[in-house]
């Protein structure tokens, strides 16, 4: 695709050189760096709110019997913990990183549609205020699980329409964000930045954006139909009226499985940037990495049935979903191989981004393996709805997606603030997180295999020991995250000056390293030439 001519991208007379003062800077923000910052701060706040809910869950599960909260409130916590972490913490964090880094990596002056960008962000505080305010309405928050299966979800109290509206807003925000990412990458690359030269983080986001545009509307459609079933006497999911509740599950998981890849592909991109830097070697098999991400994205559309094996389905369908799911192991294997080969005989150093990237490599793989176990139909009949599933998805999401985000923040933070952060504190944050994430989630494999069901506030006494271990891991993991906030705040306020390349081993695939640190408020107003 042809690139923008430098003279076209050079002017932007309607923009000031200095940020606006006070609240207006943020309210009317169109600068990709300001919007990126707002997304990241928002995401961190949601991470702590969602985390507080997780602490309630682990406190209740510390011992068998009902200890602290009543069962309905417990279910409200599991449901909203998941919704907030997925839509409020992980996804906005990646959009924040996209806002900050995509224009910097491809040499663009900003995102292609800056005002739409402002709107995408500002929808979110409204959506989540609405969602959180359901805590105070009669009947409380939604408690039927983040998967919203009817008929259970239709029994939600007054908060039901608020929940649906909040989900619609999150969907609109994500779709607009994704459109912005695609048109930016397709039209705003600096001359010479052809697609195969493009940094892996930007590539992973290009593919993720297509996934978002394909599946967020499907979720929106599903919840719209829940809404009409609830208020307008339709029977989309009501068997008595000619509908089919299982159909909801099909639609939900047609969204849901690509959604889990939406939460991991940008992390793949980040890891692919960090490992070469701290190995002082180019990424091994860079082009095959792009094909691997694209294959994973394609396959993610045809595997959704693995969430529904226990619903009952024709054997041919079971085999199809089992085989297609296992097929994803092939491109995933390519990626893990390439990452390992990148480090092979590299001159490794272990700064915080690298530590998180290496932990990602090991621990994400554990989650991948438990995923493969769950993909085996007869095995899934045993594991389905147990803590084994909880262990699986927390391994891919916490030391997977969230460690990926943290690795990215620790990698680019000096580029954003112009300061180095405290390596000591960041490494302490890493070691505490890496140890306690395993104390928290590894025992859940044993609990699941022994038959402990998920989404319950009470359990049989034989599960006590591992639950106590898991809860202790949970409290420690949660507390450790305060360090993350401390490192970031300290770094924003000052510290040793960062150089332009920041890291000694920076392998300049992305143009961000050609800019000074902090990156100026307006960057690449004249498009750079890429050779």
């Amino acid at each position: 695709m042809a690139n923008a001519h430098s003279s076209d991208t050079a002017h932007h007379d309607d923009h000031h050189d200095e940020p606006a003062k006070g609240i207006k800077r943020w309210l009317f923000a169109t600068n990709h760096k300001d919007i990126g910052t707002m997304y990241l701060v928002f995401s961190l706040i949601m991470f702590f709110i969602g985390g507080a809910m997780a602490m309630v869950i682990r406190a209740e599960l510390f011992q068998p019997g009902l200890q602290l909260v009543d069962p309905v409130f417990f279910n409200q916590m599991t449901t909203n913990h998941a919704l907030i972490m997925i839509f409020g913490a992980v996804m906005p964090a990646f959009v924040g990183l996209a806002n900050w880094m995509i224009p910097l990596q491809i040499g663009a002056p900003d995102m292609a549609l800056p005002r739409m960008n402002n709107f995408s962000f500002w929808i979110l505080p409204f959506a989540f205020t609405l969602l959180l305010s359901t805590l105070f309405v009669p009947g409380g928050m939604a408690a039927g699980g983040w998967t919203l299966y009817p008929p259970l979800s239709l029994q939600t109290g007054d908060s039901f329409p608020m929940l649906i509206f909040a989900i619609h807003m999150m969907g609109i925000s994500s779709i607009m964000g994704a459109i912005n990412v695609i048109v930016t990458i397709m039209n705003m690359r600096a001359p010479g930045m052809n697609l195969l030269k493009m940094p892996l983080f930007t590539w992973s986001w290009l593919i993720t954006a297509y996934l978002l545009i394909a599946v967020m509307p499907v979720l929106a459609g599903a919840v719209t139909m829940l809404l009409t079933d609830h208020f307008f006497k339709t029977s989309f999911f009501n068997a008595a009226g000619g509908g089919d509740p299982v159909m909801f599950e099909h639609i939900f998981w047609f969204f849901g499985h690509p959604e889990v890849y939406i939460m991991i592909l940008p992390a793949f991109g980040i890891i692919s940037e960090i490992l070469p830097t701290f190995s002082r070697k180019p990424l091994f098999g860079a082009t095959s990495m792009i094909y691997a991400i694209a294959s994973i994205a394609f396959l993610s559309f045809i595997v959704w049935g693995h969430h529904m094996f226990a619903d009952g389905m024709p054997v041919a369908a079971q085999l199809f979903y089992m085989m297609s799911t296992m097929l994803i192991a092939v491109p995933t294997g390519v990626k893990v191989f390439n990452w390992t080969a990148t480090m092979w005989r590299g001159s490794l150093s272990f700064e915080p981004p690298m530590l998180f990237a290496i932990a990602f490599l090991f621990l994400f793989s554990i989650g991948g393996f438990s995923g493969l176990m769950l993909a085996i139909v007869p095995a899934d009949f045993q594991y389905n709805q147990t803590y084994f599933v909880v262990a699986h998805f927390h391994y891919v999401l916490v030391p997977g997606a969230i460690f990926g985000i943290m690795a990215g923040v620790y990698y680019w933070l000096p580029k954003w603030t112009g300061h180095m952060y405290s390596m000591g504190l960041a490494k302490t944050h890493f070691w505490l997180s890496a140890i306690f994430v395993n104390v928290l989630f590894f025992p859940q494999h044993f609990l699941g295999l022994a038959g402990m069901p998920r989404r319950i506030p009470d359990y049989a006494v034989q599960f006590t020991d591992w639950n106590m271990v898991s809860s202790i891991g949970g409290f420690a993991f949660g507390l450790s995250q305060i360090l993350f906030a401390v490192v970031i705040i300290q770094c924003a306020r000052g510290g040793k000056k960062a150089t332009a390349v920041v890291w000694e081993g920076t392998h300049p695939t992305g143009l961000e390293w050609t800019l000074p640190s902090p990156a100026p408020y307006h960057s690449f107003t004249t498009a750079p030439e890429v050779r």
Binding site: T9, I175, I179, N180, V183, N187, P217
Partner: protein, 45 residues
């Protein structure tokens, strides 16, 4: 969703950005309405 808001001043790039954004928005709306339509026709009433 006018391309007026972009920092790009080249006419052809602005047009591509606008058309790209509108095209993708149409895809999103098609998925939304398409799935609802699918279920309307699939219900046995």
């Amino acid at each position: 969703m006018s391309a007026d808001q972009t920092v790009v001043s080249g006419e052809s790039v602005r047009r591509r950005i606008r058309n790209g954004a509108l095209g993708l928005a149409c895809v999103a709306i098609a998925f939304y309405l398409g799935f609802i339509a699918l279920l309307v026709f699939r219900s046995h009433y």
